[in-house]
Structure formats: C-alpha cells, structure tokens
C-alpha cells in the first residue's frame, strides 16, 4: 500500500478516508485534522491558557502533544484515581511526558478530595466505579481550571468515545444527555470552565497510531474497572459497523451534531446554582460530588479514621452501606 502524499510505503490505512499514509505524512495529516477541528469549532485561542486533562493514555497525551507543538499555552492535569498499579503506571507516563517537554503537570488525588481512592469510593457507595470516577473527574477538572485561572479545559475524548456515548444515550433516549453532547461545552455559569474535545473527529485507532509514531510512551493496559463496561460493548458494536461500512461512526456523530442535537437543545435547560457546601455549579442545593464525599465519610467506622480515609491505594473494607445512588448521580455540570 502506498502513501497518498509521497508514494512511499504506507504504515496506516484510513478506510473511512479511502487513503493511506507513510509515518511522516500521517503525523502531518493528524495534526492538520485536529487543528482544523479546533479552528472550525472555535475551541481554543492562542492567547488563553488551556488545562489539558491527561490520563497517561494515548488520546490525552496525543492531544497534549499536538496542542503543545501548535503553540498553545498548555498545562496538564493528572487526576490520580488511586487504582493501584494502574494509577501508578499512568501517572508515571504523564510525568515522563511533561518532563521530556518541559511542560507543567498538576496532580490532584481523588483520595484527597473524597476521603478515598476510586476503589474505596466504589466500596463505600456501592456505586459503579466508572460512575464515581466520571463524576469525580468532571468535578475536579472543572474546579482545578477555575482555581488555576484556566478558562478552558481540553479532554481527549475521541470519535469512538463520542459515538459510544451517543449510542448509549440514544438507546435510552436520554433527551438531556443528547442535548448536552457536543464537542464544545460553553461555560454556562461563572463557576464552569469551557470544555472542548479536539479529538472528537479522530478515531481511537488514529490517535493510537499518532502516539505510536510519535514515540509517546502511553499506558496500553486498560483500567481494571473498565472490564465489562457497557460503553465497551457499544464500541465493539460500532466497530463492527465501521468494519462493514467505513465512515459510519463519523457519520453517526457528525449527523447528530448537524441534524439531531438541535432537536434536543433547550430540553436540558436547568437553572444552575452554586452548591451551598463547595460553591461549585450544580442543579441542586448540594452538588453530586459533595454528596458522594458525604457517602464516603459515612462509610468510615465510628471512632476511627476508617478504611475509606486510609491510604488511597488500599481499598476500604466498608461494607453493608445503603447509598442514595440516585442523589449522587444527579447531574453535576453540563
């Protein structure tokens, strides 16, 4: 297979684009694709600092690499979930990436914010790990942006993530979720930072290839809590569709943004107020994250520090708790 640009040996075929590239031309193609997405959707400005959420995985590190190379004023934020070896390895990847480029990396530990690591929160609340993790990450990312003076945060959500989320929301016809799904989430409240997803038009395979060809040492192993996640089933289904009909994922997401989402916009309109406890934006009196923290606190045995407050890498043994998961699953922020 030949590179479309130079005619040399291709290393990556992009069936949905009906093309193939050699390494250098693919890197140029990828950068152009991402930067064009940023421009077209007015995601970032060169004169404003951007906080890049990094996990140590291919997507977020590829994103940080592209933004840094393009001259954006980036700072990384790593949220340490306290998931044993997985978190240690992923944090090391982020630190190595930042150090090699002289970039600033901030680290926030979930255990310092909630009183327990993600395994501990899962035990204490009986809430699925992915749910507690997502809530914690959204909250911490937004707060870190506000406290650090970052008007915008960039995440590594890719085309597969967006297509899988869209499929999940569509299967359940979650109107408010469909209204909120977008590559740019504007700051609709003074306590919300703008959120952008510059990789939403690039597939996971494309970001993985970019990271590989750039020599980025990212964590390949999957989070141990992700096994069996519904989103992975959705991704598998979408990839079967993509295999049979290249371009399906992009058509699904882009078509939704062009013609589907406008039908749902306005239905998510909720008044945002400040949480009476932490001051962050929420739809209720107390935000979902503060409720989550309360649940973890209640899980501690009476009269002691308790397992939930212990070393974050040690899953607490708190059991038999009745949790108000509905309360904790309230929307924290759009």
């Amino acid at each position: 297979m030949k590179c479309r640009k130079c005619g040399g040996r291709a290393v990556l075929e992009l069936r949905r684009h009906n093309t193939a590239f050699c390494g250098p031309d693919y890197l140029a193609f990828f950068r152009h694709h991402v930067l064009e997405t940023i421009r077209r959707w007015r995601m970032l400005r060169h004169d404003e600092p951007v906080l890049v959420a990094v996990s140590g995985g291919k997507d977020s590190l590829a994103l940080w690499d592209v933004l840094h190379d393009a001259g954006y004023r980036t700072t990384g934020l790593y949220i340490d979930l306290g998931i044993l070896e997985y978190s240690r390895a992923s944090r090391a990847r982020c630190e190595q990436f930042a150090a090699a480029r002289g970039l600033s990396l901030r680290v926030v530990r979930v255990a310092d914010e909630t009183g327990a690591s993600i395994p501990g929160v899962k035990e204490a609340t009986r809430r699925p790990a992915c749910s507690a993790c997502g809530l914690s990450k959204r909250y911490i990312l937004n707060r870190a942006a506000l406290e650090g003076g970052f008007p915008v945060v960039a995440t590594g959500h890719n085309l597969d993530d967006e297509a899988a989320t869209l499929l999940g929301s569509t299967l359940r016809w979650e109107e408010s979720a469909l209204a909120r799904q977008a590559p740019v989430l504007e700051a609709t409240h003074p306590k919300l930072a703008r959120r952008v997803k510059p990789l939403f038009r690039t597939s996971e395979r494309e970001t993985a290839a970019y990271a590989f060809l750039r020599g980025i040492d990212y964590i390949v192993e999957e989070c141990p809590f992700a096994r069996g996640a519904t989103s992975l089933t959705h991704k598998e289904l979408l990839n079967r569709l993509e295999d049979a009909s290249p371009g399906s994922k992009a058509m699904f997401v882009q078509g939704f943004l062009d013609r589907g989402r406008p039908l749902f916009q306005g239905r998510e309109a909720v008044a945002l107020v400040e949480c009476v406890r932490c001051g962050q934006a929420t739809t209720g009196e107390v935000c979902a994250f503060c409720k989550l923290r309360d649940q973890v606190t209640r899980a501690r045995p009476v009269g002691g520090e308790g397992p939930a407050a212990a070393e974050p890498d040690e899953p607490p043994a708190a059991r038999g708790l009745i949790s108000d998961l509905r309360a904790a699953s309230e929307i924290h922020a759009p």
Binding site: C130, C133, G134, D160, T165, E204, A208, F212, A229
Partner: protein
C-alpha cells in the same frame, strides 16, 4: 509467526506467509480495534508477514467511564 495479542495477554503461533488482514481474520480481530506492530513499525492490512515475524496486536479501544 508469533502473534502477541496484548489485550488478551496471550500469544498464538500462526504458520505460513499471509497478509496481515488474513491473520486478523483468522484470529477474529477487527482491524479497527488494533494497531499491528512489527518491531518498531506499523503494518497495513495488505502487508505480507512470514513465519519468522513477531507481530503485536495492540488494542486501541479504551474506556469505561464517561
């Protein structure tokens, strides 16, 4: 050739020269879900691989949380 399926933490032995797409099909792996790596290079589906090659099928699918 030795094929390392990283996401399943296993290795399989595939005999005979064939194209990458045929290796993937035999193993039931969707091309969209992996990078095919030989040494320090990526391979496209039409590349021919032989018995002496070592291939890594590196998964590209991640996620679980929102």
């Amino acid at each position: 050739m030795k094929v390392i399926l990283r996401n399943q933490a296993r290795e399989v032995d595939v005999r005979g020269r064939r194209r990458v797409r045929e290796v993937l099909a035999e193993l039931g792996v969707l091309p969209e879900t992996v990078l095919v790596i030989r040494g320090h290079e990526l391979l496209t589906a039409d590349e021919v691989v032989a018995d002496e090659d070592v291939l890594e099928l590196r998964p590209v699918i991640s996620g679980g949380g929102p």
